[in-house]
Amino acid sequence: MDETIRLTVDGAERTVEVDTRTTLLDALRERLEVTAPKKGCDHGQCGSCTVLLNGRRHLTCLALAVAHDGAEITTADGLAGGGPSADRLHPVQQAFLDHDGYQCGYCTPGQVCSAVGVLDEVKNGHPSHVTADLEGDPDLTDDEIRERMSGNLCRCGAYPGILAAVRQAAGA
């Protein structure tokens, strides 16, 4: 069964016909040719498909497209303003370049979106599993970054570079 939904993707209004079985990830990748979100596991285990959905980080492989009619989605591509030039990169993206926080690049758009989400969550006082004081503002220590980013796997093992990148972006 097909349904038509509307999405705002990286600032552009898009209308797309989806099968009711279509995930948000497949709607983006296969029906809208938006391929910045990657499919690494399709089961919410690797984080490669992370986007900002209505402003918060979200796994698009675990979301059914029909349940997100009207949603606003920002991918790693959209964070960079949609243009091809490097000088418009989001500070998190620039930090990934500065610290070589990637190798193959496949998990990278998800890591970038997740990092943007993490910084926002910390700013808004959200605690994590390793936050000692649940009442106060969390301090973005290395352990906090590692814990909060652990939903995004990197098989190339660029974790030390990603940690340094998130630390840099947090200070920016």
Binding site: T35, H43, G161
Partner: protein, 707 residues
């Protein structure tokens, strides 16, 4: 026309310095297109989607494929099985010759294909295909009593067994003997980008052409493998792989899914067919590292000097296609000992086909050897670094040739200094911090330096001081695009920005696989050869459009030397006294690898290897249920790989050096060595922390709760 050129060492300017990854912006923005992300601009118009139907039995014969419900499902175009799939011209390769016969060789084998207009319909269609089997008894368990088959050689073409001197007599006469069995688990490469292919058939100048974007470590290899099986000349298969989301060996050769896509596309000529292998399917179809059992005997004098080393390996392959991991290969060259024996025996099982995974041979073999060396150090009352100093060979024990720059001990000295090794307590279980036992350990790392045949590069003048450089090599995340740009720039004597590099297309000059730490050495040498020949033929001010294609001649000295890289790995482990939880707060690798071309991408490669070694040491295990013949751990929630929270202070450094006998750049290759020895260093650190010796990986918390 390609000519062979004797290269001379490159005058380095960009080589050895940082250059931003030339594809960095494309990657951090997600604009870099991976295999199935290519669209109309690249000729992928209105693609069909393919889904694999896999056998649910380990051995038997398909007696019926009921496709009716699948074909009735809206959107399904066709179902192919062994009766209806296109015939192959050659079917010797049992892994790739899919759907040519009804025989089932392993659970998870491809038994049917479903083509549909959408991925949802293809997937549902695959679920609706009903396959019936005549089931036969299978054997899917590796045991010491069934791994007795002696292969003719081990990967890639090494001796199966070696024997020198009289090992048994030397062991009998030794003051100290370590005799233990070490085990490593089945491991799956699990690159973050699952294997994926898009393929289409059309005609060019009256000839059939198969075009593919494939997630591959070597496009030329894929074309050379597929073409004869499909009854084509090699130049009728065009394979491109501009971006590849990791491989770690699993994309080093074409696996069955690539053939599945080519066959399915042949039935719908003109329409591209996309196949994205699922993470679950990868556990049966895209290669893995065999489990290994290493029986090790070390015989030494009271001073720790080795008299005898024996390393007998038992492991498994698939009865369908043989792959023999060269697990004892590093044992043949690592330490001095007059008496030595190594062997490999396999169990040929009714299981999926194993293949390359990062540092095949060295990774499991050095786990066994380096934990055994740690045990010997304890038995001798020696510091484990001192034990290695005492067993340093004069010549390569395997070939009896001089090593070209064996600097293992320099790696230990530098690592010891940086890690603070001198303050280490001599005895195990000496340090407690609250509820944590704390210890440190070391291991050696080594990897052979390899330059592959069959590489050529092309240099063309673009005018105004710019040059187009082309070679069909693939960047799987290593930074090849960036370092080849630097190599080309230095070889031509221009800035990196003056180079337009093209890679990853079979229509470019041939390149060997991105594997075996051989890529930069092999491709870089070809680029240097082409650049030097270009300058010789066309001078410093070439006319626009002139070009040279060349390959690199071997250095005549190379036959007289043994080329290996070396390293030392230092680990700190903390083991929780009540839960057995293991943390590795510090991990350091120090490497001797010739000249490092780009310190930024090199550091990431080394650290990536260390992370994967840590991951193998503590987490990674594919568990096969021998009753059914498949891996029950078949996703990233059950097959654990290191995550952010597992990776604490990990760093790598290297010795300043250059190996210009091996390559004109002075480099030797760096991709594998980071994983070698790392699990052993972690295991040795957990022993030093707890006094409990674990001889198998992964080292799980329960191992420290047994006594």
């Amino acid at each position: 026309m390609s000519v062979e050129q004797q290269t001379t060492p490159v005058r380095v300017r960009s080589i050895g310095t940082h250059l931003d990854r030339v594809d960095g912006v494309a990657k951090v923005t997600g604009r870099a297109p991976y295999a199935v992300e290519h669209g109309e601009a690249d000729g992928v118009v209105d693609p069909l989607h393919l889904w694999l139907v896999q056998s649910t039995v380990a051995k038997g014969v398909v007696v019926d494929v009921d496709t009716e419900s699948a074909r009735d499902h809206p959107g399904v175009i066709a179902v192919l099985d062994h009766a209806s799939a296109p015939r192959l011209a050659e079917s010797d390769d049992g892994e790739l010759a899919i759907l040519q016969e009804p025989t089932v060789h392993f659970r998870g084998q491809i038994v049917a294909l479903v083509l549909a207009e959408t991925s949802e319909a293809a997937r549902e269609g695959a679920a609706l295909v009903n396959v019936s089997y005549d089931v036969e008894p299978h054997e899917a368990e590796l045991r010491e009593d069934n791994a007795s088959y002696r292969p003719d050689s081990v990967n890639p073409d090494m001796e199966t067994d070696t024997e020198e001197g009289d090992v048994d007599a030397a062991i009998a006469a030794a003051d100290i003997v370590v005799e233990q069995t070490y085990r490593t688990a089945y491991e799956h490469n699990n690159p973050l980008e699952p294997h994926a292919t898009v393929a289409w058939w059309d005609e060019e100048d009256g000839r059939e052409i198969l075009s593919m974007f494939d997630s591959s470590q070597g496009v030329h290899g894929v074309a050379q493998t597929l073409a004869p099986m499909l009854g084509l000349e090699v130049d009728q298969v065009r394979v491109r792989a501009p971006y590849v989301g990791g491989g770690f060996g699993s994309k080093g050769e074409a696996h069955a899914h690539v053939m599945a896509t080519a066959l399915a596309a042949r039935t719908v000529r003109g329409r591209p067919v996309k196949l994205a292998v699922t993470r679950q399917q990868m556990f049966a179809l895209t290669g893995y590292r065999t489990a290994t059992i290493s029986h090790v005997r070390l015989g030494a004098g009271a001073d720790g000097r080795l008299a005898a080393i024996e390393h007998r390996v038992q492991e498994q392959s698939s009865a369908l296609k043989e792959y023999a991991e060269q697990t004892a290969s590093p044992t043949r060259m690592m330490y001095a000992a007059p008496h030595r024996r190594t062997s490999h025996r396999l169990a040929l099982l009714d299981v999926a086909v194993p293949s390359w995974m990062r540092a095949p041979g060295e990774m499991p073999g050095m786990f066994a050897h380096e934990v055994a060396m740690d045990e010997l150090a304890v038995e001798c009352g020696l510091d484990p670094i001192e034990l290695r100093i005492r067993n340093e060979p004069e010549l390569d024990p395997e070939t009896k040739k001089p090593f070209n720059n064996r600097r293992l001990l320099d790696c230990f000295r530098r690592g010891a200094e940086r890690f603070g090794w001198s303050s280490r307590p001599a005895h195990a279980r000496a340090t407690q911090d609250g509820d944590w036992w704390v210890g440190t350990g070391v291991a050696s790392a080594t990897y052979p330096a390899m330059r592959m045949p069959g590489n050529a590069a092309r240099v063309r003048s673009l005018g105004a001081g710019r040059y187009a450089v082309a070679i069909g090599s693939v960047d799987i995340g290593t930074g090849a695009r960036t370092v080849l740009t630097q190599i080309a720039a230095d070889a031509l004597g221009v800035e990196p920005g003056a180079i337009d590099l093209a890679i990853a297309d079979t229509r470019l000059p041939p390149a060997s696989v991105a594997g075996g730490s051989s890529g930069t050495s092999s491709w870089g040498s070809a680029v240097v050869a082409a650049a030097q020949r270009f300058r010789a033929d066309h001078g410093e001010h070439p006319d626009p459009g002139v070009e040279t294609t060349a390959s690199a001649a071997d250095d005549p000295q190379a036959d007289e030397l043994a080329f290996h890289s070396f390293g030392s790995v230092f680990a700190e482990a903390r083991v929780h006294r009540w839960t057995g939880e293991i943390r590795v707060p510090r991990l350091l690798g120090v490497y001797s690898v010739g000249r490092v071309i780009n310190p930024t991408t090199a550091r990431s490669q080394f650290i990536g290897g260390l992370v994967m070694g840590l991951s193998a040491g503590l987490f990674e295990e594919s568990y096969r249920d021998a009753r059914f013949g498949h891996m029950v751990t078949q996703d990233l929630a059950s097959y654990h790989v290191a995550s952010h929270a597992d990776v604490l202070d990990i760093d790598a450094e290297w010795l300043e050096e250059s190996d210009e006998v091996f390559t004109p750049m002075g480099s030797r290759g760096i991709g594998e060595i980071g994983i070698v020895g790392t699990a052993a260093a972690v295991a040795n650190a957990t022993y030093h922390a707890t006094g409990m010796r674990v001889r198998s990986i992964p080292i799980t918390p329960d191992r420290f709760l047994e006594s």
